[in-house]
């Protein structure tokens, strides 16, 4: 049994979380338990941690990336 940690902001609705969980389960295959962690600094979106790999889809990090791309040009 592998544990996946999903970090979301506190206003992330249960309905959306359930949809996200099902989507991830389908893509990553079964045998995974999900744990929901709330962190305001995520702002929107989610961060998934599984087996030492981090997949960051949070609004905060994406905005940071966009800011960096704009500054680099």
């Amino acid at each position: 049994m592998r544990e996946a940690i999903v970090t979301v902001a506190s206003n992330f609705s249960d309905e959306n979380y359930e949809r996200l969980r099902e989507g991830l389960l389908r893509r990553l295959g079964g045998d995974i338990v999900f744990r929901r962690v709330e962190d305001e600094s995520v702002v929107g979106g989610f961060i998934l941690r599984l087996d030492g790999i981090v997949c960051d889809m949070s609004l905060a990090s994406q905005l940071k990336k966009l800011g960096k791309e704009l500054a680099d040009d």
Binding site: R49, G52, V54, D56, M57, L66
Partner: protein, 502 residues
């Protein structure tokens, strides 16, 4: 430049934002399993490089040292107080780097490249701390002298640009002074200097920097400092960083002098780090790769061929011995790596012979090739003269009646020893060095009481400066003189001798 209008900016931004792809940002993340004594075990982070910089929580940095299938061992550079079990660890994808270039001149930096003198540091070039040594193809023979301004060294143990010459001796025998004098003597030359302090007292480092600054040497010198309070990992990294800074200059074709002060403390720091990483201890508890630790550092000193940049790195590593024992583990290691050593002796130091160079045990394996022609001409028999004098002095210590020739040889020996004494921070120019040795050969100083020799020497320098100004310029600039010019010098010195005969 034309200022862009608001519409241009907004269309540029729109275009950029429209082209933005919100792909997931994915990376590896490790977890701290255990932490203690400046070493952390980390699980996760597959694909981590050897020596990669790791970022711990709270901007604490570490270096991956022990890689294994089930995790890695990392040494921490900073205070490990904020690192806790379960913390996340991020790989930076970079190995330890140091800023290099001319902007570092006059600065004091730590081995991570952070300035320690309270001013901001803007660097445009970085080099990794660990770099491969130049290959055989890239090297050329050492043929240019590096003048230290110290007569005893320049005449008998000449150092060439690209050479590694070890300075070895007990504590308080003037090891650092010799290295600093060598740095001071590079003033108004094209040689850059890097002084690397490893595991020294912060007060000693502050004093050294002060001395460098007072002598105007900071204009062409970089100081890399890792005081005794730094973690073993930081101290371990220091000389490699200093060498990378030197290589930054060498790549641009410059000649560089690097002083590692000192490598015994570096070995001790590496031993601490290795033991904490649970590497098996060997002799004196040093790890198995202690030889490689210093050989890979000193091999990076080189004289490069013209087509590879043509620069040189001359290294003056320093080793501290205990009780004058140069056959201990670390001293023998470094002696065998370097191209010669300057051995300083406690006994000589306290009997007033300063610099306290033991000429019998000191050697330069590059030899006469790295000596100016003018110096080569007058320094030929010096070592033998001194050796014979020392032998005679021992034999005749208790004898009262000495024949005339033996007595003369003894007096000449004493005179030579007096002439080789030299004050701290008083480097001689090449012309001055040559004139002292010419005066010795002409017995001008024979019979001058020891105490009066320095004052009389200064008088001679002033006299020669007045009388042979053009010759002085020629010798200092070209390093050689023809027979006629040598004759002129001899005559001037003889005239000085006759004029000031007591």
């Amino acid at each position: 430049m034309i200022e862009p209008g608001i519409s241009e900016i907004s269309s540029f931004l729109k275009e950029k934002v429209a082209g933005f792809r919100n792909d997931p940002i994915s990376y590896h993340e490790g977890k701290v399993i255990s932490v203690g004594d400046g070493v952390a075990r980390v699980a996760g982070l597959p694909g981590c490089l050897y020596g990669e910089l790791l970022e711990f929580r709270g901007c604490v940095y570490g270096m991956a040292m022990d890689l294994s299938a089930d995790g890695l061992g990392a040494v921490l550079f900073d205070n490990a107080d904020t690192v806790a079990i379960g913390d996340t660890v991020l790989g930076t994808g970079r190995v330890a780097e140091i800023p290099v270039g001319e902007k570092l001149l006059g600065r004091v930096v730590d081995p991570i490249g952070r300035p320690m003198d309270g001013k901001p540091l803007e660097a445009d070039r970085f080099l990794p701390a660990e770099r491969p040594a130049p290959s055989i193809i890239q090297r050329r023979p050492i043929d240019t002298p590096l003048e230290t301004g110290i007569l005893a060294i320049d005449s008998m143990i000449p150092i060439g640009r690209g050479q590694r010459e070890l300075i070895i001796g007990d504590r308080q025998t003037g090891k650092t002074s010799i290295a600093l004098d060598a740095i001071f003597n590079q003033k108004d030359t094209d040689v850059y200097c890097v002084y690397c302090a490893i595991g020294q007292k912060a007060s000693s480092i502050a004093y050294t920097v002060q001395t460098l600054r007072e002598n105007g040497a900071m204009d062409y010198t970089v100081v890399v400092a890792s005081p005794a309070s730094d973690s073993p990992a930081t101290q371990y990294l220091a000389p490699y960083c200093a060498c990378s800074i030197a290589e930054g200059f060498m790549q641009k074709g410059a000649d560089v002098l690097v002083v590692y002060d000192d490598l015994s403390k570096h070995a001790v720091a590496y031993r601490a780090m290795s033991l904490l990483l649970h590497r098996p201890p060997g002799r004196e508890a040093y790890p198995g790769d202690i030889f490689y630790l210093h050989s890979r550092l000193l091999e990076r000193s080189a004289a490069l061929k013209e087509e590879f940049g043509g620069g040189t790195i001359t290294a003056l590593p320093i080793i501290e011995t205990a009780g004058g024992n140069i056959s201990a583990y670390i001293p023998t290691n470094v002696i065998s790596i370097t191209d010669g050593q300057i051995f300083l002796e406690n006994e000589l130091f306290h009997s007033g012979v300063r610099p306290a160079v033991n000429t019998g045990l000191s050697v330069s394996r590059v030899g006469k090739a790295s000596q100016h022609k003018a110096m080569r001409g007058v320094s030929g028999t010096l070592r033998i003269d001194l050796a014979q004098y020392r032998e005679l002095a021992v034999f005749t210590r208790f004898g009262s009646d000495i024949d005339e020739s033996t007595g003369r040889q003894l007096r000449r020996g004493e005179c030579l020893v007096d002439l080789l004494k030299q004050g701290k921070g008083r480097p001689y120019s090449l012309f001055q060095e040559v004139s002292v040795l010419t005066a010795y050969r002409a017995d001008v100083f024979l019979g001058t009481p020891s105490k009066e020799v320095p004052a009389r020497l200064e008088k001679m320098f002033a006299y020669l400066h007045r009388r042979c100004a053009s010759l002085e310029k020629i010798v200092n600039a070209h390093g050689e003189m023809d027979d006629e010019e040598f004759e002129e010098l001899k005559n001037a010195i003889a005239a000085f001798g006759a004029q000031t005969q007591q």
